[in-house]
């Protein structure tokens, strides 16, 4: 317990943007063939530092086969919630779930990120026993504890009951139990986020474990059996209040990115692929008169490619779908970054008018057919995937792996892990930084990135910027 709120807690998104820039980026490393233990890399991102864009510390886990994916902080700006009335915790521990093992690691980043170490390990049995869920995934720090979304229910295959969200104590890391009281029609899960003062949560659907653990199941995709609905929840009542179906052809609704400014009652969701035309799409949801609405506001077309450049999975289509696998919204809610993992493009949309996204910038790197190298000359396998934006909105970081078994299906030649960064212009525009290239240790791939002091997909705010 501290005497003052953590200096990295900010009352509003505007204050978060004005705070000092990040010095370190944490990135999860995963061993795609499970031959080595997964790890957390600490990367120096301080310009001018002699170790700039290099891994300066690695926390290696004691187990194999965890498969790291997403992770998050024990506490963030939401601790300044006026309802919590008690902001005396530190942004100190990273909660890193093993998506395959259901094991959760708590990593202590103090006294210095270069000395980060394992603080606690929550074994899978505790998660199973206390929640009936498995395959923990997204972490969000709430004012009353850590919220963890899961992708699986109980049982070996994770299909014994629906997946959902559970809560952990943000100081003892004890698993407290299920969050939902009434889940309504929700049976699949992926991402979730909220608007704290407006008291609602939004969640999305990817797939059930048998649909992803051993690779994408083409028959399920073509018969539209992946997730395609968005759920809206009363956050404090823990009730599903509305479910909207995007249409079965809009397969895999993934990242949920609400506006950071809580006065704005809208947000975005990315849909991986439309099975009728291979488009990727961006959807805008908003609340009006107590009801939630959603509409498709941007589409990204597939790109034709010769058969010999395509993996067996795509050869029948003669084209590469963009596969919108991650989206991220800048802290000022102005720019939405969209990863097109298969075509190898990072798009930047101006979403000042949230229902009319305008393409403002784009960077090509990697891609199944295009295979664009990095401006420094290095080959970049895979495509832009997990994306993280600095709080001030000037730097956009991303990695190139999606998920071990899916990587192999779309990029059969392998995806050596890499992390790059692009500079964003103040009025739009995106350009890769030639001097930022993090080569990862052999045999490792990289997934989500977290920035010290918070980033654009971590912190939620209880006060508006104005």
């Amino acid at each position: 317990m501290t005497m003052r709120p953590d200096p990295t807690f900010h009352a509003s998104p505007k204050l978060a943007m004005e705070a000092p820039a990040e010095n370190f980026a944490y990135t999860v490393l995963l061993s795609p063939d499970f031959s080595k233990p997964d790890a957390l890399a600490v990367i120096d991102v301080k310009p001018g530092s002699p170790t700039y864009s290099k891994i300066v510390h690695t926390v290696t886990m004691p187990n194999k086969g965890d498969e790291f994916h997403h992770f998050g902080w024990n506490a963030c700006s939401s601790a300044l919630s006026p309802l919590a009335g008690h902001a005396f915790i530190e942004r100190r521990y990273l909660i890193v779930p093993g998506m395959r093992s259901s094991r959760i690691y708590i990593i202590d980043t103090k006294p210095d990120p270069t000395q980060a170490k394992i603080h606690k390990i929550i074994e899978p049995e505790e998660v199973f026993r206390k929640t009936g869920y498995s395959r923990p995934h997204t972490i969000h720090c709430g004012p009353d504890g850590i919220y963890v979304s899961t992708l699986g229910g109980g049982g070996k295959n994770g299909t014994d009951g629906p997946p959902g969200v559970f809560i952990m104590d943000c100081e003892t890391f004890e698993v407290l139990g299920r969050w939902e009281i009434d889940r309504g029609p929700q049976t699949k899960h992926y991402d979730f986020w909220w608007n704290l003062p407006r008291d609602y949560m939004v969640s999305s659907e990817w797939a059930l474990p048998p649909q992803f653990e051993n690779g994408i199941v083409p028959e399920d995709l073509l018969s539209n059996k992946y997730g395609h609905r968005i759920h809206f929840w009363d956050l404090r009542a823990r009730r599903n209040v509305q479910t909207i179906d995007l249409g079965a052809n809009h397969q895999m609704a993934l990242e949920v990115r609400p506006a950071h400014d809580p006065v704005r009652e809208y947000g975005f969701v990315g849909v991986v692929v439309d099975t009728t035309n291979l488009e990727g799409s961006i959807w805008t949801w908003w609340r009006e008169g107590g009801e939630f609405h959603i509409e498709k506001t941007a589409t990204i077309p597939p790109e034709p490619a010769p058969k010999d450049q395509l993996p067996p999975l795509l050869q029948g289509f003669g084209a590469v779908p963009p596969l919108v696998t991650d989206i991220d919204l800048s802290m000022d809610d102005r720019f939405l970054y969209v990863s097109c993992w298969a075509t190898g493009e990072m798009r930047q949309y101006d979403v000042s008018d949230p229902r009319k996204p305008k393409l403002a910038g784009s960077v090509r790197i990697g891609g199944i057919a295009s295979r664009t190298p990095h401006p420094n000359g290095q080959a970049f396998a895979g495509g832009p995937q997990m994306v993280e934006i600095s709080r001030d909105g000037k730097r956009v970081y991303w990695t190139n792996s999606l998920y071990s078994t899916w990587d192999d299906q779309f990029y059969p030649h392998g995806i050596p892990g890499a992390e790059v960064m692009a500079n964003a212009g103040p009025g739009g525009g995106l350009e890769l930084a030639k001097d930022y290239w993090v080569g990862l240790p052999d045999g490792y791939r990289a997934h989500q990135i977290r920035l010290d002091g918070g980033d654009c997909s971590t912190d939620s705010f209880c006060y508006p910027s104005a």
């Binding site: 003052r4 509003s12 919590a84 008291d199 009542a237």
Partner: protein, 222 residues
């Protein structure tokens, strides 16, 4: 002024001072009024939030003090009641010193239910408990010859006193909190929310123990 008048003045001052103390504590709700004002971009929304916050605090005070107001009619037990109340306050202070975990479940109360939130916060922190020894002292100062007064009059007096103490305290609390909320909203800016937040857990627990100890010493002495 007589000694009893002096005592009464000091005790009333304590009622007001504890109200101001609760009011400026961000844990008692003024940031909620700032948030309401900013979310709706109106001073009126800020002021509107102060109402339920004050009512919640007032009800918490009444809930804790009123039982003592009724107990006070048991005149021959008065001394034991005062000592018991003092011990209760001390015990709660010590409990807060030992169990340092914050009741995070408070954040699960919907932001639309401000009065409920304010009530729950005041109860959970023992804010109302702090007033009990002061209140009992005031009752004593008001009627030194209670032994000769009819029970119904006694109840009337002590109930009136309880309501008065709760209103004055909650009034001071919301005046202090409201002023601070307005200053932050209008002039100081949101930076102040994080900057003004000090961890008062220890101070709070110690002040409970101190109030209890003073009351206990006075109770034993008479």
């Amino acid at each position: 002024m007589s000694a009893a008048d002096w005592t009464a003045s000091w005790l009333w001052l304590a009622v007001i001072a504890s109200g101001l103390y609760h009011g400026i504590n961000p844990g008692m709700g003024w940031p909620l009024a700032v948030s309401a004002g900013l979310m709706q971009r109106s001073t009126r929304a800020l002021l509107a939030a102060l109402g339920p916050l004050a009512i919640g605090h007032l009800l918490a005070m009444l809930l804790v003090i009123l039982p003592f107001a009724l107990l006070i009619t048991l005149v021959e037990w008065q001394r034991s009641i005062r000592i018991g109340a003092s011990l209760l306050v001390i015990a709660f202070g010590i409990y807060r010193l030992i169990d340092r975990r914050h009741p995070r479940a408070l954040a699960r109360i919907p932001p639309t239910q401000l009065a409920l939130w304010s009530f729950a916060v005041a109860i959970a922190h023992g804010a109302a408990l702090m007033l009990v020894p002061i209140y009992l002292g005031l009752c004593r100062a008001a009627g030194p010859d209670q032994g000769h007064t009819a029970a119904t009059t006694l109840i009337d007096t002590s109930l009136t006193m309880a309501v008065l103490v709760a209103i004055v305290h909650a009034g001071a609390m919301i005046a202090a909190g409201g002023c601070l909320a307005w200053l932050v909203y209008r002039y100081l800016g949101l930076e102040f929310v994080a900057r003004s937040w000090f961890n008062l857990d220890t101070v709070w627990a110690v002040s409970l123990v101190l109030v209890g100890a003073v009351a206990l010493a006075l109770g034993v002495a008479t």
